[in-house]
Symmetry: C2
Subunit: 399 residues, 2 copies
Amino acid sequence: MGIKFIASGGITTPRGFHAGATCAGIKTKDKSDLAILFSEAPCVATAMFTTNRVKAAPVLLCQQRLRDGKAAAVVVNSGCANACTGKQGLADAAETAELAAEAIGAPAEDVLVASTGVIGPCLPMERLRAGIKQIVLSRDGGHELARAIMTTDTVPKEAAVGIDGSNLIIGGVAKGSGMIHPDLATLLCFLTTDASVDLDFLRLALRKAVEVSFNMISIDGDTSPNDMVLIMANGLAGNGPIATGSQQADAFQQALNQLCTHLAKSIARDGEGATKLIEVKVNGAPTLAEARLVARTVVSSPLVKSAVHGNDPNWGRVMAVLGRSGVEVEEAKVDIYLDDICVARAGCAVPFDEKAAVKALDKSEVAIVLNLNLGEATATAWGCDLSEEYVTINSQYTT
Amino acid sequence: MGIKFIASGGITTPRGFHAGATCAGIKTKDKSDLAILFSEAPCVATAMFTTNRVKAAPVLLCQQRLRDGKAAAVVVNSGCANACTGKQGLADAAETAELAAEAIGAPAEDVLVASTGVIGPCLPMERLRAGIKQIVLSRDGGHELARAIMTTDTVPKEAAVGIDGSNLIIGGVAKGSGMIHPDLATLLCFLTTDASVDLDFLRLALRKAVEVSFNMISIDGDTSPNDMVLIMANGLAGNGPIATGSQQADAFQQALNQLCTHLAKSIARDGEGATKLIEVKVNGAPTLAEARLVARTVVSSPLVKSAVHGNDPNWGRVMAVLGRSGVEVEEAKVDIYLDDICVARAGCAVPFDEKAAVKALDKSEVAIVLNLNLGEATATAWGCDLSEEYVTINSQYTT
C-alpha cells in the first residue's frame, strides 16, 4: 500500500477540478492575486480554521457555509486579508462569493472565500468585480492558483499524491506562512481529491493530518485571523465511499498525512529570510502532547534559530528552551544530537568534534534531536533559521 | 512622600555596602568578569529565581542558602552560566562561595553565588581561585560590579533611590537580558538597602515590585536557568524595622517599584540590537491578569517589533497578536493608538495621518496603546525593536 508523489502535481491533478487566476490589481503592479478553484461535480468538504479570536471575514463566511459539509468552489485573493474590516468586510466576502458563483454557474452558498495579505484595509471591490470576470478556468489551472495566493512566499507550494493499487488522487496547494512564526502569517491550504469520501471520515482525517503537519510548524497555537486548511472531495474516481473502517481508509489517511507534511515542510523551508529547514525530533517523552510541545517550542526559539543560522552548535540554548517549554524535564537524563553527533549527554556537555557539528549545521536541512529518556512518545516539528533578512522584510511590509 | 533618584547611585550607595571586581579571565581578554558585593552588617535577604525547570548550579545553591532569610555577600561572574553542569557545577558554585567567604571574612553559608554567560561549560575554577584574591572592595565599588556582570549589554544598569522625609536608600544593579526575548537571557538584579526591613515584608515587597517591572519585560514566564533578583537589607540606616502596615511600608514599596521599573526599562532599552524602547500600555481590560498578558504578548511579537523597527504603522499586526494572546476579545470594541494617534477604532481602520504615525514610531521611545473597552484594568510592558543586528549577534555567540 504505497503512496506516490505525482510529478508536477497540484490541486487540479485529481479528476474534475478546474482553476484559473488573474491580476486584479489588489497587489501592486502585474502580480497574479485573484483565483478560483472549481469542481465540476459537487464536493463533500470540510476545513480547519484559525483559532485566533480575531477572525477575518472570509473565515466567518466559510465557517457558516461549511456546516452542511458541501462546497463547489473557492475564490481566493492575496494582497488584502479582509480582516479587522467589520460589517463591510463580511458584505465584501459575500459579494465576492456571489460574483464567483455567477462566473462559474454554481449556487453562491456552495462558494467559499479565502483571503491573505495586509490586515486592516477593506477589499478593493471594484478591482475584484472586474478581475473575477477575467478568470479562465482550466484543468491545468492549479499552478496558476498556486502563484496567485503567494505573498512573501518565494516559491509556489503544490503537490499531488496517488494511492497505489487504486485510482485515487489527492492534490494540494499551500501558501506560506512566509514568516518565521508561521502561525502569525496566513496559512492557506486547499486540498482536492477525486475520491468519494464520507463527510464524517473526511473531517476526522483532515484533523489527524493537520495535527502532524501544519500544526507542527506552529508555535503556541498562534494563528493568523485568516488561516484555513480546506479539503474538497468530488468522488469522480468512482470508488465506493471511504469511511472509517473501510478498506481504503488507512491508505487515504497515510496519503493525506504525507501530502500535508510535504506542504508544511515547504512552508517552513520558505519562511521569510530563511536559508535552512530545521527539523526538531523529540524522542523519549512521557506523552505525545509533551513530545509535540517540546518539538514546537524548540523549533520556534529565536535563539535556537539564530544559532542554526550562524552554524553555532550552542546546545545550551536547546536545554534552556526545553526547561521553559512547560513539560516535566529531568535535566540529568537529556541527550541532544545535531544530526547524529551527540553534543550533550545526561544533561551535560560531552566532548564532540566541533568542526563536524558546524558542518552538520551548515546544510540546507538541519536536524536537532532531543531524547528526554522519560518515555516512549516522539514528535517532529519543522521551522527555519532566523536571518537578518527576516527583519528587513518585516520592517517594511505595509509602508 | 516623594521618591528621588540619586545621581550616580548604585548598589553601594546605601550605607555599609562594599563591592569590587576584577578580570579573572573567564571572558576573553581583559574584560572585568568577577565581582563581590559585601555588607558590613548582616542582612535580611530574599530573592526571586528563574522558573525554568533547568536551573543553574548557583540558583540551586542560593535557593538553599536563602531559606533562613540571611546573607552577607554575593560573588558573581559573567562569561559562564554554570548551567547544565551537573554535580561538578554544584561543587564549583559551593567552592566559589567558600573562596569569597575566606577573602571577606564572612561565614560561607551567608555568601551567595550568581553566574551569567554561556550554558554548558564548567567554571574555569583555576582562574576563579586566582581572581577572587585580586578583588579589592570599596564603598564606591558598585560601579565596578555593574560592569563586571555585563555580557552583551552595551551599558551598565544601576541606580539608587532615596525616600523623602527619611534617610532610607535603596540601590540596584541589573544586567540585561541583552536579548530580544529577555526571559531567555540571564536577568541578574541585585538590590541593596540600608533600611531595616522585616523579612516577611521584604519577601512580599520584592514580589510586588518584580511583578510590575522585570516580569513585564518577559514573555511567557520564560526565564533563563540563571535568573535571579536579590535584595539585601542591612538596617544601617537605623530606622525602626519596616513591616506590613508600618509607617514607611508604602514609601518603601513605591521606591522599590520605581527602582525596579527603572532597571527593567534599562534592560529592555539595551536589548541586543535594539534601537528603541517600546512601551505597550493596555487599558480597559476585564482583569489585571488579562491586561498584563496582552501587554506582554504584544511587546514580545517579532512582527510588531519588526514593524516598529521599520517605522511601519502596521496596526493589523497588533490586532492579530491581541487575538491570539489567549484573552477574551471583542474585536468591535478595540481601539489602538501609536502615541496619541488613533490608528484603529472599534476594531477597524480609521483614517490617520500616516506621516505623523511614522514620526511617532521614529523615536527612541515608542508607545503603543490598546484599549479593549471591556473593563477597568490596565498594565504596561516594555520591550525593544527587532533589528538585523539581533540576528547577527545571536548567530555568533559561542563560536
